[in-house]
Structure formats: C-alpha cells, structure tokens
C-alpha cells in the first residue's frame, strides 16, 4: 500500500474533479488540493444547500475555478462532480480524537530555561505567558519546537 502511494506521488495525474494536473494523493480519489478543500468545506452543509442556476450543466475544469478564470465557478456543479467521482462524507475524516501529545511536552519545555523571551525570536504568541516563537518549519521533526497555534484549543479540548 505504501509503496503504491509513493509510486503514485512521483507521477502526475489529473484531478478527477477539475482536471488540473497534480502530484501526490488526496484521499483515495485522485483529487487536487483545492478540490479536496472545497469538498471538505461543503460536505458539512445540509443536502441541497447548493443550487445550480444552469440546471447542473456547468463545466467544472481547472480553467473555471475561482482564481483561474473570470467565469465564476458553480459550486453546486463542482460539489456534484465531487460526489460523482465517489467522494463522500466519509472521505473527510475528523482529526484524531485524542490529544496532540507533543504539545504537552512543549508546554513543559516552554517553562525551562532554554526557551525564554530573550533567546526566542518572536513572531507568534503562544499563550497567556506571552512567549513568542519563530514560525516552525516541519513540525514532524521538531518536537521541541512545536508550533503552538492550537495550544489553547487543545487545552480546552483535552485538559479540562
């Protein structure tokens, strides 16, 4: 399975929805990131929220998308196209339900001497302690240096 994923990610393919050329995989269906994001947003809406003014005949392709064309995109048809290529609400899964754990470690580290206001260049506020962090690079490799944007949300969610 993993090998299969790696192979697919090295070759381009066309988004099943809009036809844009893409590298990488999104969901099990070959979609570009914009279409994946689009579907993620609209699958949460009640059914039939979106209406097409042209009886569902709109041509959904890369050139008709939001930033690609002066022609306004039809969200109803784009969403319908997503459904027609087997996207469904199960394709959009919630974030893992348990605690993002490294935040805990970071929180402890924040209170140690290494991380203080003087030694840490600041661009973002972390919490009410007013510690600031530089924008991290890849979080997966920086457990000590985790981005803290969601810390308060995480705390509310898990630490009450």
């Amino acid at each position: 399975m993993w090998q299969e994923q790696k192979q697919m990610s090295t070759s381009p393919f066309d988004c099943a929805v809009c036809g844009a050329g893409v590298y990488g995989n999104n969901s099990d269906i070959r979609m570009c990131l914009p279409c994946k994001s689009f579907f993620r947003r609209y699958t949460l809406l009640p059914a039939n929220t979106l209406k097409c003014s042209r009886n569902g005949t709109c041509d959904i392709e890369a050139t008709r998308r939001y930033f690609s064309s002066s022609v306004p995109p039809c969200r109803a048809c784009r969403f319908h196209k997503c459904l027609s290529v087997s996207m469904n609400e199960n394709s959009v899964r919630p974030r893992s339900s348990s605690t993002p754990p490294f935040n805990m470690v970071d929180k402890v580290l924040l209170k140690t001497s290494l991380f203080n206001e003087k030694s840490v260049p600041s661009t973002k506020q972390i919490d009410n302690e007013n510690l600031m962090f530089t924008r991290p690079r890849c979080s997966s490799d920086v457990s000590v240096w985790q981005h803290q944007t969601d810390l308060s949300k995480t705390r509310d969610y898990f630490m009450n």
Copy 2:
C-alpha cells in the same frame, strides 16, 4: 498486504496490538513496526495525556490504522492496547549501553527540570542564535509547489 514488511522470520504472526500480519519480532512482544513506532513515540508522554472520546471502547485493529481507513485511529486506545499487551517504557531500550536514546533523556530531563542550554540532548542540530532547525521545510510545500507548477502548465495548455 502487511506481509511486505522486510523483517524476516520463520513464520508470520499477527500484531498483538492491531492485528496486522507481520514477519519478524519487535521487542519481546510481537508487534508490527508501525505499532512499535507508535509506542516509542507516545511512551515518553506524561501519564493520561491521551484521552479517548469514546470511553476507551475503540477497536484497534489493522483496518483502523492511519493509512488504512477513513476512520481516524484513536491514539488513546491504541496506546492502552500497547500497555495491555505488556509493552512498557522499558520496552523502549537504549540504542546502546553508552548512548541513551533521545526520548529517554528528554523524559528524565523533563521530569527533573534539568533541561537547559547546556544539556540539550537532541541529536538534531540547533542554531542557538536563531533557534532554527536546519532541516528543509515540510514536504507538503513541495507538493504544493509541484501542484502549482503543473497547474500553470495545465492552464497554459487550456488557454492557448
């Protein structure tokens, strides 16, 4: 599918945690590599960091793992399952007798508040001036870049 794992053994077995078919042994408990890695990551956390939103009733099996299902895995239950099959922090052993693992050092330092600039245990290179890691950015950036490149190519193709 998971029989593709490289580790050799005389016979396959099922991972004690997730049930995936595996060759080879990891630790003294028969675990697949993903579950071993999972436990290695999470065993350094403070107790009760992970919380299950379903009262610990999640079914941890191969089909519920991250890349295998649209259902997000519950880390709390997966970790609990690891513990229930007798994994413990001693299962995460030092790489050698002379070099304690990064995780263990961190854990001790965290608990003893000895973490300071002189005792940073990470094997990763840190520029103490900027406190920036030297590794490249997330791969998702690459994917996005590739997507953009290809999208513009596609756009050119359609709009010529």
